[in-house]
Amino acid sequence: MRLLFFSTLLVSAAAIAYEILLMRTLSIVQWHHFAYMIISLALLGYGASGTFIALSKGWLKPRFELAFSSSALLFAISMVASFVLGQRVPFNALEVVWNPRQFLYLAVVYLVFFVPFFFAACCIGLAFSFRRDYINRIYFFDLFGAGLGALLIVGALFVLLPQHALLVLTTLALLASVLTGLTSDARKPLLAAQAICLVGLLLTAPHGGLALRMSEYKALSQTLQVIGTRILTVSSSPLGLLTVVESDTIPLRHAPGLSINTDFEPPDQLGVFTDGDSMSVITRFDGNLDTMAYLGDVTAALPYRLLDKPKVLILGAGGGADVLLALTNGASNIDAVELNPQMTRLVTDTYADYAGYLYNDNRITVHTGEARGFVAKSDKQYDLIQVALLDSFSASGSGVQALNESYLYTAEAIGEYMQHLSAGGLLAITRWLKLPPRDNLKLVATVVKALRDQGVDEPSKRLAMIRSWNTATLLVKLGDFSADEIEAIRQFARSRSFDTAFYPSMPANAANRFNLLEQPYLYDGINALLGLNAHIFIDDYKFHLAPATDDKPYFFHFFRWRSLPEVMALRKRGGESLIEWSYLILIGTIVQAALAGAVLILLPLARIKRTWPAGTSTKAGSYFFLLGLAFLFIEIAFIQKFILFLSHPLYAIAVVLSGFLVFAGFGSAFSRRLTRRVELIHRSPVTVTVAGIALIALLYLALLPVVFDQLMGLADGFKMALSIIMIAPLAFFMGMPFPIGLSRVATSAPDFIPWAWGINGFASVISASLATVLAIEFGFSMVVLIALALYAAAAALIRE
């Protein structure tokens, strides 16, 4: 039996690790938003395997070892096969608005990645179904393995590329297959199959068969097409795959917002791509700042014209471009914050010579950490806080980021930045200019909210914005702009053919003079956002401009349902950039998850003979459906909440998923005892657990922002441990309603049990993506409140 326990642990660990690995891999070869699809896929695997086992019980039971070992083997094989095939499906997310066939490809991607999760879930399901005497220990090893797997993969990704980490996971599954196969009657054919699998793996892996195939439309793929371009180094961590590219024939010349009438050119640069996109550059620097003169002619140089030798904080140091900007423009002291230590090492070590030992300058201190966390724990005041422009224009322009949460651009973030400004200090944020305007106006709306939240009566006296043809730089001052400063802004803009979009008391005729827009969109928009009827302007605008907050940190989300018919009609007239395809893909994912769930989980169950009492289907069915939705809603909402605290989506997913798994498991194990105790006092156990869930969830909604604020500066390891401790009580209670309901069904309608599992699985499959849509539209807090309402409805159903 020990072998079975250990095999269960191995399969569980490999399954959750594979889930996280796929999220990482798809972020690299496609984009970040596939995370929700992968969670849904894993759940679909578990749901479908439940149905499969329920329907094939008679055949599987006498062949338990063979079935477990074969499932583990097929899991190992399909992990690799799906990894390779999934990347070969010609799915092109950018083409979704043009080519409906892309949704078909998306469905193929979905089904390809479903297979390994199905086989992994079969192993666990078989153990639960046919080794009931050891169910508690199997459950423990399942959950312990899952927790271990999440940590293992995060650790492994620090030292291994995703395709190499895949081999480790395959080995785990193969080992599980070998261990359980040893006690099977069919161990010889099994061993032969396992050996073939191993040989196949050894033959494929070294020949690049597992190499990542990045979308040809990602910035890195595009750059590598250019003559004379080559990859210098690749480094990987859970925070991103960094690829350094040199282009010796055609220089990169990355200079966003450079004046059209400048006399200067950017020097040589190395491109640093994160996950094949978001290029940052390391600029060749020999210590002579004259070679950086072009940095005086970008819109982001504006704040330096208003400040004398400022102390500067740069959020998002990247390859050091903004640090050079600050140095060139006379900063006396620079603190630069960068999330990814591998990025910093490129400048300090690997390419230190190329970068002119930039970070050795005693005016510069580079800090590794998350920007919000750094600001929260810092007690320093700065003359200038500069938020760097690190995302690429094409990513920004194509709606690829619409589902990316960003805690850099929320009202709470702006508020914190302002608190770290010295008197008269400036916050400077440069963004790409999109037309019709979206980002730039949403940024202003967010800043205005932050200022009003801090009690500023007239935000209009503290704002200024200039724009080139492709960037806009917003300044927010701690205090009112003086007449001299306004004159300096005008002078800076005029001499470089930049337009002033806003400054205090700016006359309408000062707008739109150099880069002529069809209308002075930004001037009009900013004035409207500062006016009394700002809320009407935001309501009427065809893009989503409401301020981003920590509860709705979707700064890049501009989609409005009511604009969809108009923008779809305009796509053939050049209006395709008005559509955010990643949002449409999310909706597509929900639809296909529902279809796949119905076909793979529910439809086969129709074969079960209906022997249960009348009304069971509706009542018990609704109960398990509501639980499936509610559990995932809370889980997804907390993953999102913890992204702020843990600095990166992958950390949040790993920690929150394993936290929920382990402690929901403990809750589940405790549920029988709780039921006994609560029934003694004539209360419904579900009502009691739902009350517990509601109490803790509401408490967290109120307290988590404060707790995060206080603890943000701690080391990552501490924060992960604290996160698990915080999740524990909530997950513990959330683990109870399902087994309580199941034990009720077991006594009143035992044949309904597979349906209970199936319906719950179906709800889970759609809820991961549904929760994201609800969070984008209504915020995380609302998702949690909806989940609590669903739990309450479930409790009401079962109480009667």
Partner: protein
């Protein structure tokens, strides 16, 4: 042979067979329909008083064989008013955008035009039928070679292609009456502005692949003043109620 290569090959052969069956008459009909569609959109877009797309540009759009500029696998969609992949992670622009860009530079028969970003060569081919000579530069070797061969095969003798860096323009043929920049850049290369003849126009589509967000038009006046305009490719007023 790898499985996916085999599948792809079978698919390509199938598509090729279908494409070959589509005769010149079919393509001509599809092209006429495409022009009709582009024209109907243009008149909708230009209801704010600007002139509709020039008849000359529309006439040329109706004669350039777009299906020759897309990979065989996409030939059936060659005359759909949409961008199409041409390999190397690049796209051939939506015909509507090509018409709009061509119209914006106001081409005339004596003009010498520089294009940065040859791509498949379709934009150069359209321009070649409207102006005296087109010089076009491409930074992707495969595309440059294919476009050179294609333009020569189709008889575009007044197009000269080059593989290389477009940042410094093409000094020996400057100044240019118009410049079309289809390669993406974070800034407008100053040398290109210098190579624009007084009274000349430069147009740059801004946005990602499959997504033209706006068009940047740079005009150099007769006294060397630079005026830039940014226009949405589409008439989309972001406020409701016409405010």
């Amino acid at each position: 042979m790898k499985l996916n290569t085999t599948i792809r090959l079978i698919y390509c052969v199938g598509v090729l067979a279908v494409s070959m069956n589509a005769g010149a008459a079919d393509y001509a009909k599809a092209r006429t329909n495409m022009v009709k569609e582009v024209r109907s959109f243009a008149s909708l877009v230009r209801e704010d008083g600007q002139p509709p797309l020039s008849a000359n540009v529309m006439r040329v759009l109706g004669t350039v064989e777009r299906h020759e500029f897309v990979p065989p696998i996409h030939r059936q969609a060659a005359y759909a008013n949409r961008p199409l992949p041409i390999g190397y992670g690049q796209t051939i622009s939506q015909p509507y955008i090509v018409a709009l860009m061509t119209d914006l530079i106001q081409p005339s028969v004596g003009d010498v035009v520089l294009e940065i970003g040859t791509g498949s060569g379709y934009q150069a081919a359209v321009l070649a039928k409207l102006v005296k000579h087109v010089y076009t530069i491409e930074i992707i070797e495969g595309l440059a070679n294919e476009a050179t061969d294609r333009l020569a095969r189709l008889g575009y003798t007044n197009v000269t292609t080059r593989l290389g860096d477009g940042y410094y323009g093409w000094e020996e043929h400057a100044p240019f009456d118009a410049i079309v920049v289809t390669a993406s850049a974070t800034h407008v290369p100053p040398p290109l502005i210098k190579q624009l003849r007084p009274g000349g126009r430069m147009v740059i589509p801004v946005g990602g692949h499959f997504m033209t967000q706006q068009l940047l038009l740079i005009e150099k006046t007769s006294d060397n003043q630079i005026i830039t305009r940014q226009m949405g490719a589409v008439r989309f007023v972001p406020l409701t109620g016409g405010r």
